[in-house]
């Protein structure tokens, strides 16, 4: 696999998302901008801890600082999340395609056993 800038950006985003506190911060920012003190309250974390998590999120491009106000609120940047979705999509599709095959096959097997049952078998229908 070729390592390029896109992959590096993805690696940063993945690393940033690997932490549950950082995912919670992103979830909070999804409902609106918030500054450090506003983020401290719901998580019960100290200011340095929140700042450390925010730095990781900023480096991954997931969070931006609004510089136009004194309180420097943070906002969510969705683009890296979309990149992750795009990257995962072929893998997801691969499994979904396979699972659809399984759905269809179970449908065929179920159909056969229903037919067998209606032809007089008294057994509970079950695939072979």
């Amino acid at each position: 696999m070729v390592i390029n800038n896109t992959t590096d950006a993805l690696s940063l985003a993945f690393a940033a998302l690997a932490d549950p506190t950082r995912r919670a911060i992103l979830a909070r920012l999804a409902s609106g901008d918030a500054d450090v003190s506003e983020l401290m309250k719901p998580f019960g974390l100290s200011q340095p801890t929140i700042s450390k998590h925010l730095k990781v999120l900023e480096r991954a491009g997931l969070v931006a600082i609004q510089r136009d106000a004194q309180r420097r609120p943070r906002s969510l940047v969705a683009a890296p999340l979309e990149d992750i979705d795009l990257w995962l999509e072929p893998y997801r599709q691969y499994w979904e395609t396979r699972f659809k095959r399984l759905d269809d096959y179970m449908g065929e097997v179920g159909e056969q056993s229903r037919k067998a049952t209606s032809k007089g078998s008294t057994r509970r229908s079950k695939p072979r």
Partner: protein
């Protein structure tokens, strides 16, 4: 069959992939689909073609081998835990050679079955190699067509 919710993929940490999907059949049947060679041969290949060979030694330490074609492309591994109809654990080879562990948890949701499949790798690079596996988009398209066709036959 009724249309199912599509599969979801999530990455809970750096080493794992979690795939979830609900099936419109009781879990005893879905578990059987995953552990009976005759069944697997009929649905495993996403292209819709039956497997060229399918060997299952269903016991802890027993091997399995799903052979896709004459060229020898195969999915192989070793069963670790077999607990019908709720749990199936196996190990498979990985890019680094260290192997990875697949855990399938089948939960009953009424008459339906929720499958949570966790693939645990030993490292982030092994996991990413797995995720980077690309699938031909044309194949997926063809299969959507087949899915629709089979659906229309069922109605």
């Amino acid at each position: 069959m009724a249309t199912q919710e599509p599969a979801q993929v999530s990455l809970p940490n750096e080493r794992e992939i979690v795939i979830t999907r609900t099936f419109g059949a009781p879990r005893a049947i879905v578990f059987d689909m995953w552990t009976n060679a005759e069944h697997i041969a009929r649905w495993w290949d996403p292209s819709g073609v039956p497997l060229a060979a399918c060997e299952i030694d269903l016991r802890p330490g027993g091997a399995f081998r799903f052979v896709h074609d004459g060229a020898g492309h195969a999915f192989t591994g070793v069963y670790r835990e077999i607990d019908p109809p709720s749990r199936l654990v196996f190990t498979t080879p990985s890019a680094s050679g260290a192997g990875s562990t697949g855990t399938l948890a089948f939960s009953a949701v009424g008459e339906r079955t929720l499958l949570v499949m966790t693939i645990a790798c030993v490292s982030k690079s092994d996991r990413d190699a797995l995720l980077a596996m690309r699938v031909d988009a044309g194949t997926a398209r063809t299969l959507d067509n087949l899915d629709e066709y089979l659906g229309s036959l069922a109605r």
